[in-house]
């Protein structure tokens, strides 16, 4: 049964490769949708118990949901997105799209280490092929390389981790660190995140949506399934908490300063992964101190935020795709005024931005609210957990504030004001299929906020139920009434403030200027410049300032750019060292066949000599009492 969705996706990928482009899109889309639905049906409803009931494979089922939902929506959105692309692009897109979904489902359902690694690698390679969608551009090639290197580096750590697990007396600390490195490369912990801001802008937007919403979550899945049972809850909790705080704060700071809309969203994903890690960290801390209330609230927050982030960020990426489709650019400083030209996309983007910034009443708030609750409860329980809770609460609040700034910048610079370029002025709304598919994600996320208390109830069932038998019900009531009040107020506002008949349409931001132009308006960079200055010790912005000089000054300009700190201060120096070392030993690669053979012969002889010398004083290996390696893996819980 578990193979059926994967088989559907496989056959769909082959069919989309065989048939003509027009049919290949149909086959590809249908198989992606049917496969995802089948996954939902077979993996979730199969157990006879609906979502979030505790079964053996709770983790798998839980991480399945964002993949399947985003898979369906992104597949439908892709039809609109791919219009106007060449046949080669369309065919390869659907081929790899289906394969990527299949490999993601396989990652979830395969347990044995080798199978898991194969599926994991397949996931990386197929998504890299999709990142290389615009393979003729330089940026796309660069992004694909960075992504592939990140994927393979992660796989190296994972292989080492699985080998370490087979040892007779496994060193669990090493295994946990390897799992953190290997899976952390996928879920973008701070420092390991460098591929996210490169790969997401290069990938087609529906693929970015899936990668950001569903794929990077799988890093958490891997850590929880293979890494977490190896260390004490306290150690895991502190690790997650610190990683999460770093990711949330730095992620959103860098997001704030980006001018490429998809880069901004990618950095925001790093922030959200940080928030999820904070939730899990608090949860494990609660477990270690035997405080089930804190643990269940924190885990509920993390669980909810994973789903929320998947839906909201998926929708945001689809909106960014619509903007790209309409204008052909991702640079927010070139846009502006798109709200008048593409009102539906603009509204969706703004609403989702509110949601992901954690502003009530949307469901992005619910996840963070539960984590706040856990932090506050940790605060009063004293001890070291109070310290962690303070850190978590402060950094959550801080990140939330910056997220508001980030998304008001993103929405404002893109959709408000006057168009700053020709491409923005001539843009028009994208096809209804793209708008509707992204809107469906938003509707889903709003619906989801109603079942948030149910999630708390179910997660709490892992722990001691009697502690909050009524908590979930109270939260549900409070949340529903809050939502009703908000909606009522909004409706009242529209009713009570009647639209005057004599509205005079004028220019946007006509602040008393005689002839306002788009150049007078704030750009996105200008909007966040004060905040960028505030955090410049952390962000290290690069400023190009040409001051006006002389009596009749010529043109003056100022440019502010913040490049990824992880690349600039961590990885670029490391790779520079490696390449300078490689340049030193480069002459050894003479290109002479004979020299190569000689080198191989010398190496063989040396190995032979080593074997002979080492073999003399070693006991016969057959006499050693080597036990066969025991492969341990758990069905995560």
């Amino acid at each position: 049964m578990t193979a059926i969705p994967i088989l559907i996706l496989f056959s769909g990928s082959l069919a989309s490769l065989i048939f003509k482009p027009r049919y290949s899109a149909i086959f590809g889309c249908i198989s992606a949708c049917v496969g995802s639905v089948a996954a939902l049906v077979f993996y979730i409803i199969k157990d006879g118990s609906l979502i979030f009931s505790y079964t053996n494979n709770f983790l798998e089922i839980f991480f399945m949901i964002p993949i399947a939902l985003l898979g369906i929506v992104a597949a439908i959105n892709s039809i609109g997105y791919l219009k106007g692309h060449s046949a080669v692009h369309v065919k390869t897109y659907w081929f790899f799209f289906n394969l990527m979904l299949a490999s993601m489902f396989s990652v979830l359902v395969l347990n044995a280490p080798v199978h898991f690694l194969l599926a994991w690698e397949a996931m990386g390679i197929t998504s890299a092929a999709l990142v290389a969608f615009n393979f003729r551009t330089k940026e796309s090639t660069r992004a694909t390389w960075i992504y592939l290197i990140a994927c393979h580096a992660g796989a190296v750590f994972l292989i080492l981790m699985f080998i370490a697990r087979t040892a007779v007396a496994p060193n669990w600390t090493v295994i946990f660190i390897l799992a953190l490195l290997g899976f952390g490369l996928k879920c973008g912990f701070m420092g390991l995140h460098v591929w996210l801001p490169e790969a997401h802008p290069a990938a087609p937007s529906p693929v970015s949506a899936i990668m950001s919403g569903a794929m990077i979550n799988l890093g958490f899945f891997g850590i929880l399934k293979f890494g977490i049972n190896s260390v004490s809850p306290a150690a895991a909790g502190w690790t997650f908490l610190l990683l999460g705080i770093a990711g949330a704060l730095l992620g959103i700071m860098f997001a704030m300063t980006q001018s490429n809309i998809k880069r901004l969203l990618a950095f925001s994903s790093i922030e959200n992964m940080g928030i999820i890690a904070i939730g899990m960290g608090l949860g494990f801390l609660g477990l270690s101190r035997d405080l089930p209330l804190i643990a269940s609230f924190a885990f509920t927050g993390a669980v909810l935020h994973i789903i929320n982030h998947a839906l909201l960020k998926g929708c945001l990426f689809l909106c960014a795709g619509a903007v790209l489709k309409a204008t052909g650019s991702l640079d927010m400083d070139e846009m502006g005024g798109l709200m008048k030209r593409m009102p539906q996309t603009g509204t969706l983007f703004a609403l989702n931005g509110i949601g992901i910034s954690g502003i009530p009443p949307l469901n992005g708030f619910m996840g963070e609210f539960f984590i706040y609750m856990a932090a506050l409860m940790g605060l009063v329980s004293g001890g070291s957990i109070a310290l962690g809770s303070v850190g978590a609460a402060v950094s959550l609040a801080f990140a939330g504030g910056l997220a508001v700034a980030t998304f008001s910048k993103a929405a404002g610079a893109t959709f408000l004001g006057e168009p700053r370029s020709e491409i923005a002025a001539t843009a028009s709304e994208v096809s209804p299929i793209m708008v509707l598919s992204s809107a469906s994600l938003f509707v889903l996320s709003v619906c989801l906020s109603f079942i948030a208390p149910l999630v708390l109830y179910k997660v709490g069932a892992f722990f001691d139920m009697s502690l909050f038998s009524n908590a979930f019900f109270n939260i549900f009531i409070a949340y529903t009434s809050f939502l009703i009040i908000t909606v009522t107020v909004l409706l009242l506002r529209f009713q009570l403030l009647p639209r005057s008949k004599d509205n005079i349409p004028g220019m946007t931001w006509d602040c008393g200027y005689a002839k306002p132009a788009a150049r007078m308006a704030y750009t996105g960079t200008a909007f966040t410049q004060p905040l960028t200055n505030l955090f410049s010790p952390l962000l290290q912005p690069i400023r190009n300032l040409i001051k006006p000089a002389g009596l009749f000054p010529g043109p003056a300009s100022v440019q502010l750019e913040v490049s990824d700190g992880g690349v600039r201060f961590l990885w670029a120096p490391i790779f520079d060292r490696i390449s300078s070392f490689a340049r030193k030993i480069h002459p050894a690669q003479s290109g002479r066949l004979h020299a190569y053979i000689l080198a191989m012969v010398v190496a063989t002889i040396l190995m032979l000599a080593w074997g002979l010398l080492a073999g003399q004083d070693q006991p016969d290996p057959e006499n050693d009492n080597h036990q066969p390696p025991v492969i341990q893996y758990s069905n995560g819980d």
Partner: protein, 223 residues
């Protein structure tokens, strides 16, 4: 039959030296044919004929060796040499007298090294394993020290002969089956190289392996 075995082994060592010492390709090919025949005869010489007719697998391996290494491959190589029109090895990396000296050294070294091996049981002769090692080393030496691709193929064949000798001399249980597998590889390889030489010769007017690096991604300065 022990003396016969040792005579064959000694003859193989001698062919090693004559091959390294000669610059003419035809001479080398004839020598490798002789060596192939000797390798083919080795299992027959080792067999205890007083105990009855040897097993079918031994007969099969030895006759296949005789046919492929003694006749077929040398014939193929000679055919290629005639067609390509290359007669001599010109300007080898290591001169002929120096080569012979090195081969003597390598042979001595093989005796020294193999004395460390613990292969007492089932060994056919005291000099069998060192001779096999010397042949392997000589083959590798020819690959490294000679320029012409044909000589390198011959070196490779010699290398394989050494492996076959090793297999025969320690009476591996599955040695014959393995040997047959390797033989098939060698045959295909020489066949393909023969065809490739034609085309390389047609394109480049030479078959000097050390100039083939122009085809590869030879590193340029300053990368």
């Amino acid at each position: 039959m022990k003396s016969l075995t040792e005579i064959i082994l000694a003859a193989i060592l001698l062919t090693n030296i004559t091959m390294v010492a000669s610059s003419r390709l035809m001479r080398c090919i004839k020598d490798i044919a002789v060596q192939g025949i000797l390798i083919g005869l080795l299992p027959l010489a080792v067999t205890d004929w007083t105990a009855g007719f040897p097993a079918g697998s031994i007969i099969l391996a030895s006759s296949l060796n005789l046919v492929v290494k003694g006749i077929l491959l040398p014939y193929l190589l000679a055919f290629v040499v005639r067609r390509v029109g290359v007669k001599r090895e010109i300007e080898p990396f290591v001169g002929y007298s120096a080569s012979v000296a090195i081969i003597f050294l390598l042979t001595a070294l093989s005796f020294l090294v193999t004395s460390c091996f613990n292969l007492a049981e089932g060994i056919i002769s005291n000099i069998a394993v060192p001779a096999a090692f010397a042949t392997i080393c000589t083959g590798l030496f020819m690959i490294i020290a000679r320029r012409k691709a044909i000589t390198q193929v011959i070196g490779f064949l010699m290398f394989e002969n050494g492996i076959a000798m090793f297999g025969t001399s320690i009476m591996l249980e599955y040695g014959l089956i393995m040997e047959l597998g390797i033989l098939q590889d060698i045959f295909v390889l020489v066949f393909i190289m023969g065809i490739a030489f034609f085309h390389i010769k047609k394109e480049f007017a030479h078959i000097d392996a050390d100039q083939l690096n122009k085809l590869g991604d030879k590193p340029t300065e300053g990368i």
